[in-house]
């Protein structure tokens, strides 16, 4: 799905943000990028999306350059980035509209998505009337509307309270089970990463590089009960330990 080889990124003459990244992401994986600030995890996401370009090395998404692959990629930002002048329905339909999907097809698609994420009752509401969690849900629905094969998420739930975040994590996995996209997810939260991922990439800072990869072999479907299991706890411990190693280095 994504093949990254010998990737480096530096801005101007500053020391590199990312150095010698090699990573292969298989179809269907849920990858979390975790690491201290300044390790380049958001930069890596921007590189995969083609929003910024590599200084050296290469990235292929579905065998294409990131920019050419955009038709099958969606990006979810740290904040909901909704257009305040559009109601929920028209926000969710934005991507389809930009890609010239016909009005009828758009309407059907948006309606079914709103049902899927439980937003039908606020279809006509404007963003300022929604809570933070709701806004993020709209953002997720908008990203899924264009039926992406790859979903890039940059700390999408970072600003939410823990309960809302947990619930949205569970919903995200439910959506994934129904729609089967591949995901790359940037987060600061160890338990969020363990809960969501099939594989966690621990990045080390200055210069940003892959320090460790940890496969998370917890069975799906994962529910709130998963968080109480012993194996979940031991994965959290393992990832936290890896992060500490990166910090002290």
């Amino acid at each position: 799905m994504v093949t990254i080889s010998d990737l480096s990124k530096r801005y101007g003459s500053n020391p590199p943000v990312l150095q010698q990244i090699n990573l292969a992401i298989e179809k269907g994986e849920f990858i979390s990028l975790i690491g201290p600030s300044g390790c380049g995890k958001s930069t890596l996401l921007k590189l995969i999306s083609g929003l910024t370009s590599a200084s050296s090395g290469s990235i292929l998404v579905d065998g294409m350059t990131p920019v050419n692959a955009r038709k099958t990629v969606s990006y979810i930002f740290q904040d909901a980035t909704l257009l305040p002048w559009r109601n929920v329905t028209r926000n969710v339909g934005l991507g389809l509209e930009l890609e010239h999907v016909s009005r009828e097809a758009r309407k059907a698609k948006v309606q079914s998505l709103l049902e899927l994420v439980g937003l039908s009752h606020v279809a006509q509401a404007y963003p300022r009337q929604l809570s933070g969690g709701m806004k993020m849900r709209v953002s997720v629905a908008r990203a899924l509307a264009t039926t992406p094969r790859l979903l890039l998420m940059d700390e999408p739930f970072g600003a939410l309270d823990e309960m809302t975040r947990d619930r949205l994590n569970e919903e995200l996995l439910r959506l994934r089970a129904e729609q089967s996209w591949t995901a790359v997810f940037v987060t600061h939260s160890v338990s969020e990463a363990v809960f969501l991922s099939t594989r966690i990439i621990v990045l080390a800072p200055s210069p940003g590089r892959i320090a460790q990869q940890i496969e998370i072999d917890l069975p799906f479907p994962r529910t709130s009960l998963t968080r109480e299991s012993e194996r979940f706890e031991s994965y959290v411990t393992e990832v936290s330990r890896a992060l500490r190693g990166v910090h002290s280095a």
Binding site: S49, Y75, F77, T81, L98, Y126, R128
Partner: protein, 263 residues
């Protein structure tokens, strides 16, 4: 709604108190009416010369509204050019500031000389004075779009035109309204300033500015006050019209319009 009503009543009470004070001043000081007419005398002047007052008001408001409307159209078009690149802004922006700093009383006679006396030249004076705030605010709105929103559009392979029409333009609407609010107030000033120089072809047919000159030359101070009152009312009317339009277009989404709906 009730709160607005209370605010309005308070304002009216202050107004009534001021009128009383003014009327009382006449009793105390016995100023000659051509120095300071009493509110009652002004009221009489309004009633007695109502048709010509309304005629002047109509002329001035047409000129001010025409200048304002033209400045909105031209200002938005110029802002669209400015929004294209930093280079364009660097080259052209100083001239916008020039537009704002040049004293309109000095420019008005020039316009009249070039265009000739009449409604058109007064409208042009109003247009010039309104243009700078529209350009400055709209440009700011067009270029201050959050980078992630641009990224979002890019991720959907949006064209430059799509980014302009579906993102930058709607995003600039609140800023445009800030510009219009400023411009609406000064459009009346611009029109009256223009009229001070434009004069009139026939007596009694000029706008407020012309009539103010005429009344002051004739020492008709009560009518002069009536004209000033009319000019103030016109400014208020413009301001509230813009406020209403702003609320109408933005109450669903923008902070600045919230205060009107939340209470």
């Amino acid at each position: 709604m009730k709160k607005h009503l209370v605010t309005l009543l308070n304002a009216l009470a202050v107004f009534a108190a001021l009128l009383l004070l003014w009327q009382g001043l006449d009793v105390l000081l016995h100023l000659p009416p051509y120095m300071l007419p009493t509110p009652l005398a002004v009221g009489r002047a309004v009633v007695a010369r109502f048709p010509s007052l309304v005629a002047s008001l109509a002329i001035t408001s047409t000129e001010a509204a025409g200048g304002l409307a033209a400045s909105i159209v031209a200002g938005v078009l110029i802002a669209l050019v400015f929004a294209q690149s930093r280079w364009v802004r660097r080259m052209l922006y100083p001239y916008t500031i020039l537009l704002q700093t040049v004293p309109i009383v000095a420019v008005a006679p020039l316009i009249l000389m070039w265009v000739g006396p009449g409604t058109l030249s007064v409208t042009i004076v109003a247009f010039i004075i309104c243009l700078a705030p529209i350009i400055a605010n709209t440009t700011q709105g067009l270029i201050s779009v959050e980078p992630n929103l641009i990224h979002l559009f890019l991720m959907h392979n949006a064209s430059r035109l799509q980014i302009l029409t579906r993102l930058r333009l709607p995003h600039a609407v609140p800023s445009l309204f800030v510009g219009i609010r400023i411009a609406a107030g000064i459009s009346v000033i611009g029109a009256i300033t223009g009229e001070l120089f434009a004069g009139s072809s026939r007596v009694g047919e000029g706008g407020l500015g012309y009539s103010i000159l005429y009344a002051s030359a004739q020492l008709q101070t009560d009518y002069l006050f009536a004209l000033v009152l009319a000019a103030t009312v016109l400014g208020f009317a413009f301001f509230f019209l813009v406020m209403f339009l702003e609320w109408y277009f933005l109450h669903n989404w923008h902070e600045s319009a919230r205060a009107l709906t939340d209470e």
